[in-house]
């Protein structure tokens, strides 16, 4: 039942550009069936009862498509009203994923937040049986060849493109198609451990076995000389993702680095309990792409959009900072840094928090991020020192003041270091 609803869902939210959404009063945000993303909330804050859909699209900075989708989600969770559209009862949304059924591209997962991802993956180990039982009824006759219930967006919650499933001129069986589409739709969102369906502490042997298993399933040679139509590219993408994942996980050094990035991202997510904005690639993904980039051009599928999104977020952060909305500003900077690692932005964010004496832990994360890009950046060390100073961790503060002085002469650093040494 759920399945068919999902399949029939319209692909693009259809709103009249001249319609004017309004906020629904008296909604308890903590009781929502699903937590909207920061983008959603940002948009929510712009809804004042006089701005039209068209205006929101052009001013939100999210782009038209994302704005429309965010509106759709706000509407579905019952936060806003839109004339001409019947509001869905929040309670009628049966699963969290259902609320996001309006996304269009198959490359995007049908999840609303990485918070849900984590839940999904951590639950997997212990209560897998339950997990399957809960999705079982809708998935039983629409199964995938390989069990993919561990993915952030399991097949039961994935919106499949009917046209791709129904085409009868392709040599791939339907369960396999579902499997490919479901995987392909969330390549950017799953981490390689989820993708390989292995534990974080998997041994080299486990990794190899998982790699062999997936290669056998997704190598284009399996369908050699067959016309796969749109699946040709899908299967190629999936296979290349398999080899990329293997390249990283099978090299101890690269794996360490990757693990560190994963961890860091999780700390950031947990601390603030803010879900990953789903329309932006994660920092891990960026790291992968930056590895291969050269000075000639940035290597990613949609550099224009990324660059634009990055700039929009930085601008928003700077504006918020000017208005002394420090927390909001920090949030925008954080999002920007996920799209692009940038020393200056990281330093600005850290500096802002230190100056405001706010959220020092987060300031520390920003400063660290800057150091990861340039571990000899004196300003980054100075910020680290000041943060530890404020946190009264003298030893560590001292360490960073020394680092600063190793790199350049700095009056403030020297004075403070001497004070610390004296006391």
């Amino acid at each position: 039942m759920i399945e068919s609803r999902l399949l029939n869902a319209t692909h693009e939210p259809l709103f009249d550009d001249n319609a004017t959404p309004t906020q629904v009063s008296g909604v308890d945000i903590d009781e929502l069936s699903e937590t909207p993303s920061p983008d959603d909330f940002f948009l929510y804050s712009r809804i004042d009862g006089s701005t039209t859909v068209g205006e929101l699209c052009s001013t939100s900075g999210l782009g038209r498509e994302s704005t429309l989708e965010a509106l759709q989600r706000l509407l579905e969770v019952g936060l806003i009203d839109m004339p001409g559209v019947e509001r869905e009862e929040a309670s009628s949304a049966p699963t969290s994923s259902d609320a996001t059924s309006s996304r269009r591209e198959t490359r995007r997962p049908r999840t609303s937040s990485s918070g849900a991802n984590d839940l999904e993956s951590s639950r997997r180990g212990e209560t897998r049986g339950d997990d399957e039982a809960s999705t079982g009824d809708s998935a039983s006759n629409e199964s995938t060849g390989l069990d993919l219930s561990h993915l952030p967006v399991p097949p039961s919650a994935f919106e499949f493109d009917d046209r791709l499933l129904e085409r009868d001129d392709l040599p791939i069986e339907r369960p396999k198609r579902r499997e490919l589409l479901c995987l392909h739709g969330q390549l950017d969102e799953v981490n390689y451990y989820q993708f390989f369906d292995i534990d974080r502490d998997a041994s080299a042997r486990d990794i190899k076995h998982a790699y062999f298993k997936l290669s056998k399933r997704y190598h284009p040679d399996r369908y050699f000389q067959n016309d796969l139509g749109p699946f040709a590219e899908i299967i190629e993408d999936v296979f290349q993702h398999v080899t990329r994942g293997h390249r990283i996980l099978s090299d101890p050094e690269q794996r360490d680095e990757y693990d560190a990035q994963l961890e860091e991202q999780e700390i950031v997510d947990d601390e603030e309990d803010v879900p990953t904005p789903m329309n932006q690639p994660s920092s891990i993904d960026m790291a992968r792409k930056q590895d291969a980039s050269t000075d000639i051009g940035d290597d990613n599928s949609d550099p224009d959009k990324r660059e634009a999104a990055f700039r929009v977020l930085v601008n928003r952060g700077t504006q918020a900072r000017q208005k002394e909305q420090i927390v909001q500003a920090a949030e925008q900077f954080r999002k920007a840094l996920r799209i692009q690692r940038d020393v200056e932005v990281a330093l600005e964010a850290a500096d802002m928090l230190v100056e405001a004496d706010l959220r020092l832990e987060q300031a520390q994360l920003f400063a660290r991020a800057a150091l990861r890009i340039d571990d000899k950046h004196p300003d980054a060390h100075l910020l680290m020192a000041r943060i530890f100073d404020k946190l009264e961790e003298r030893e560590r503060a001292l360490e960073h003041y020394n680092q600063v002085l190793d790199i350049r002469e700095d009056e403030m650093a020297r004075r403070r270091r001497n004070e610390l040494l004296d006391s």
Binding site: K208, H209, Y211, F212, K213, S215, K216, H219, P220, D221, R222, F224, Q225, E236, F239, Q240, T243, H246, R247, D251, A292, S293, T294, D295, I296, G297, D298, D299, S301, P303, D304
Partner: protein, 608 residues
């Protein structure tokens, strides 16, 4: 079930195999041999000879006998490999129109893909005889360390030969397939392949039917030929010392030396010393004949070639490092190629890896067998049990502004693979960009192989850096490179195939296909002519027999019989006069006339 054959197109020997009822087997040639010498010759009458036939006449026809052509295929004129061949080969090597290499035989220039195509065609014939049918599809192997233009050239050879090459795979990988096929192997193995012309080393992880190449390297100009050359040099030096004569200047003597050197090398794999005896090797101006008579010991041979062997182990070392493994991580070492029969090589390999090499595979046949296994797995869908994950042996990149070399796809990346990059303009109002594609891992930009360059034009005129073009580089499962470019603003896509500048153009290939077909038609025609001549001669003999019978029976000769006899004798006369230079059509006519005359003659004779 579709049949796909596998061909190991070797420098010295070629081999064809096929999988039948799940069992891979080598197909022997007409002579009963499982390998066919990779030698092509053109006779005085313009006939092509391949294999054993070509080998047999090599000494007397050295200038028009091509051996080891694989060492030249896909190479650029002026490269050191080509220079080396020009110095040492008895056949004529000339520059081609694209800075490529051609060989000149009986006044006609042949491209290297054409020479290889003649060998491929012969192997196809061997398969046809066995299968009773045209093999539909083919997998051909190349040395793992072959670069893009060498691979392309091999594919071209297939096209000219009329083969449908569905995949090019690497020789050591093919060997690994044969090694692990049908057995539940789970191991990390090293394939050490030293053949007649090339050396390859590949490290693979095998398990669950997956053959995953971890790293590969080699030298496409290091093989048995070089070992032979050392012996030739040694013999020629001794001869020069004794007689002040450089044997290498004499084609015929050189060819005999070459044969003797290889033979001695092979013998020294089983005995400690061997006699080399070449009587009447050289005739001096005064007519006195000189002989070469000497012994060569295994020890001396090893001394002559030890540095070549060490070159291979050095490459092994680098390859292991690339795979991030030490020698102890290798469970099994597999020796491939005729040269690995040399005891010293086996010892050095054993010492390097610290393990006795496996004797499980046949060094001459594994590669062909592996090719057949891969072909079978590709064309027969249900054949899920083997999967080959190979790598690209060379990095691929582009020349960037300022002359640097930017690698986009690193060597040992699993193929198929692709990487895309955004290029921007560097000057204001620049409406085209030139992209230079390079392959290799050399420090200096110019030391890498230039795969090709192309110009993207029709860009929007804007200030520097504003126009963005996404260029995607891919390496196919064959290891062949292609590039496509998309203007990000307009979404307009331009597909560019990088054909190495030294490769043949489409038109040339088409022309060569045509010439080859013409030649085959010609061969067929001359075979038919030959057949007709035999037929005519047979009829002539019968008529003559009948004539003598009639002459024996005296007196009873009727008018009718005499007339019939005269007509038959007349027909024989004309046939004998024209048989040697008549065309096919004329011969057919003669044949018919003759047959009718015989019929009539015999009819009358029997009635009387």
């Amino acid at each position: 079930m579709d049949k796909c054959i596998g061909i190991d197109l070797g420098t010295t020997n070629s081999c064809v195999a096929v999988v039948e009822n799940g069992t891979p087997k080598v197909i022997p040639n007409k002579g009963g041999y499982k390998t066919t010498p990779s030698i092509v010759a053109i006779t005085e009458s313009g006939r092509r000879l391949v294999g054993q036939m070509a080998k047999r006449q090599a000494i007397t026809n050295a200038q028009h006998t091509i051996y080891a052509s694989k060492r030249l295929i896909g190479r650029q004129w002026g490269s050191s490999a080509v220079r080396h061949c020009i110095e040492t080969c008895p056949y004529e090597i000339v520059p081609g129109p694209h800075d490529d290499v051609r060989v000149k035989l009986r006044g006609k220039e042949y491209s290297l893909p054409e020479i290889s195509s003649i060998i491929l065609q012969e192997m196809k014939l061997v398969a046809e005889e066995h299968l009773g049918d045209d093999p539909e599809q083919t997998v051909v192997t190349v040395p793992a360390y072959f670069n893009d233009s060498q691979r392309q050239a091999t594919k071209d050879a297939g096209k000219i030969a009329g083969l449908d090459i569905i995949r090019i795979i690497n020789e050591p990988t093919a060997a690994a397939l044969a090694y692990g096929y049908d057995e539940d192997v789970e191991a990390t193995v090293a394939i050490y392949d030293l053949g007649g012309g090339t050396f390859d080393i590949s490290i693979l992880d095998i398990g669950h039917g997956v053959f995953d190449v971890l790293s590969t390297a080699g030298d496409t100009f290091l093989g048995g030929e070089d070992f032979d050359a050392r012996i030739i040099e040694h013999l020629a030096y001794e001869f020069a010392r004794d007689h002040q004569i450089d044997l290498r200047k004499d084609e015929m003597a050189l060819q005999r030396l070459r044969d003797a050197a290889e033979q001695a090398k092979i013998e020294l794999s089983s005995v400690e010393e061997t006699e080399i005896s070449l009587p009447f090797l050289y005739t001096q101006d005064d007519g006195e004949a000189l002989h070469l008579q000497t012994t060569l010991t295994r020890e001396k041979l090893e001394e002559l070639v030890i540095d070549l062997i060490q070159r291979t182990t050095k490459i092994c070392d680098a390859t292991l490092q690339e795979a991030g493994l030490g020698p102890e991580a290798i469970d099994d070492v597999i020796l491939v190629g005729g040269m690995t029969r040399m005891p010293r090589i086996q010892e050095e390999v054993e010492e390097f890896f610290g393990t006795k090499p496996s004797k499980k595979v046949h060094p001459d046949e594994v590669v062909g067998i592996g090719a057949a296994i891969q072909g079978d797995a590709l064309v027969n869908e249900d054949e899920e049990d083997v999967l080959l994950l190979d790598v690209t042996p060379h990095s691929l990149g582009i020349m960037v502004h300022g002359g640097g070399y930017e690698k986009l796809i690193k060597k040992n990346s699993t193929i198929p693979t692709s990487e895309s990059h955004i290029f921007t303009t560097v000057r204001d109002h620049q409406t085209s960009v030139k992209i230079v594609v390079l392959q290799g891992d050399e420090e200096e930009t110019e030391d890498n192989e230039l795969l090709g360059e192309f110009v993207l034009s029709g860009l929007r005129s804007a200030s520097a850096g504003e126009v963005e073009i996404e260029v995607e580089f891919s390496i196919s499962a064959d290891g062949i490179v292609s590039v496509s470019a998309t203007d990000l603003e307009t979404g307009k896509e331009q597909s560019i195939t990088v054909t190495a500048s030294s490769n043949l153009t489409e038109e040339e290939i088409d022309r060569m296909i045509e010439e080859n077909e013409d030649y085959l038609m010609e061969v067929k025609r001359s075979e038919e002519i030959e057949e007709l001549r035999t037929q005519i001669r047979r009829t002539i003999r019968e008529i003559n027999k009948l004539v003598s019978e009639v002459d024996d029976i005296e007196g009873s000769n009727s008018e009718l019989l005499r007339e019939a006899k005269e007509r038959a004798v007349e027909a024989v006369q004309t046939a004998e006069d024209t048989i040697d230079d008549a065309s096919l059509e004329e011969l057919e006519e003669t044949d018919e006339k003759l047959s009718r005359a015989l019929e009539a003659f015999r009819g009358v004779f029997q009635r009387t």
